[in-house]
Subunit: 249 residues, 2 copies
Amino acid sequence: MLSKSNIKRITGLHQKKYRKQEELFVAEGIKVINELLESSFQLEAIYGVERDSLHIPEEKENTFEQITQAELKKISFLKTPQKALALFKIPTQVDSKHTGLTVLLDDVRDPGNLGTIIRLCDWFGVTSLICSAQTVDCYNPKVVQATMGSLSRITIVYTDITAYLEKEQRPVYGTFMDGDNIYASTLPEEAVIVMGNEANGISSAIAQLVTQKIAVPRFGQLQKTESLNVATATAICLSEFKRGYTIEK
Amino acid sequence: MLSKSNIKRITGLHQKKYRKQEELFVAEGIKVINELLESSFQLEAIYGVERDSLHIPEEKENTFEQITQAELKKISFLKTPQKALALFKIPTQVDSKHTGLTVLLDDVRDPGNLGTIIRLCDWFGVTSLICSAQTVDCYNPKVVQATMGSLSRITIVYTDITAYLEKEQRPVYGTFMDGDNIYASTLPEEAVIVMGNEANGISSAIAQLVTQKIAVPRFGQLQKTESLNVATATAICLSEFKRGYTIEK
């Protein structure tokens, strides 16, 4: 039986304020939960209408609580609640040196876009993602659901991106309408790639710290498409940076 | 004043059945409506809380109806209704010959993905998009909003994709985990690119009609990311097909 105070505590985690306070985030659905259970994330509690398909490690068995579908509905963030909901500890942010490719987000606001970008980083072997303080929280339930487990494989750091870029030694790439054709550019193995806000692109303060302005050329005769969505632009940029270094056949 | 029957008719357009019956679709927001007003789409009716920012052509002035914010809320599909809602005629599907690059969707179900793919086609100069009958309707309000006007610049055909591919002369590309590295392939100017369903990928019946199996290689050491989202995979494929034919600097 879920107590009223517990329901309140879990649904409160929808808000960043309470996630920060409790240092917990919510994951839903057997698939996402099982992926996170295999990762370095620490399980705090797990609520399920059944436990058979959940891969709960033995030492964490006491964190499982059997609930009814009606109770799950009370704590779920999803329109169609899945069979389980789990709480994981938000890891402490570590200040490590980033090498290779790093993606840096200048105020990306849409949870779906951030989730897609995290999956793309995972796919392309980008292990560090730097986010401005105004970028949507990666522990937002919508982001957690959209990442499909990739969240556990990327180091995500929220920081003052101006200060971060000022100290950066690697070349800093950013996409601008008047940038150099990305397809004709020789792209390095080590770099920071800045992606901007959905509506406003890269802010002028950050633009000044970009050392290499690039552009994804637009094709077609009408030339009216205003811009690429930030997630698809990230896909194209990462593909271009990595295509020369294929490790699979 | 909006009549009850009119409200019912407009909200009914949320459903494909009624869109088909009425041959109308809904667009919302000044920006999207103005983009469609500039296109070949035919305006049927336009409801706005103000008309100043709407670029209604003179001969269509009689289609404008001033409504209140409360009335707009009754007919809007958006959580936060914009200032106007318009009805446009669904164009008759034309059977024309497709040349250059054509994207073909095998049961893409998510409106956001279809909207993003339409924008990508527009960006990369792909003028024809072929959809299986089970692919989400491109006149679904969520798709219309996501395309940001690109909808008017792409020829979209819903058809029996098996029959379409059986008659196709161009090479048919499709992405598969065991396909050839797309980065190492010489890609032609004329081709059909098949993109599959979000959960199941390309169906086996369609896979048999694919003449060139390609893959976007996965990077990183963990190699756990299951798959790319269909919209980001489309972005990478179109970028690869087009990168050799840059027309801008």
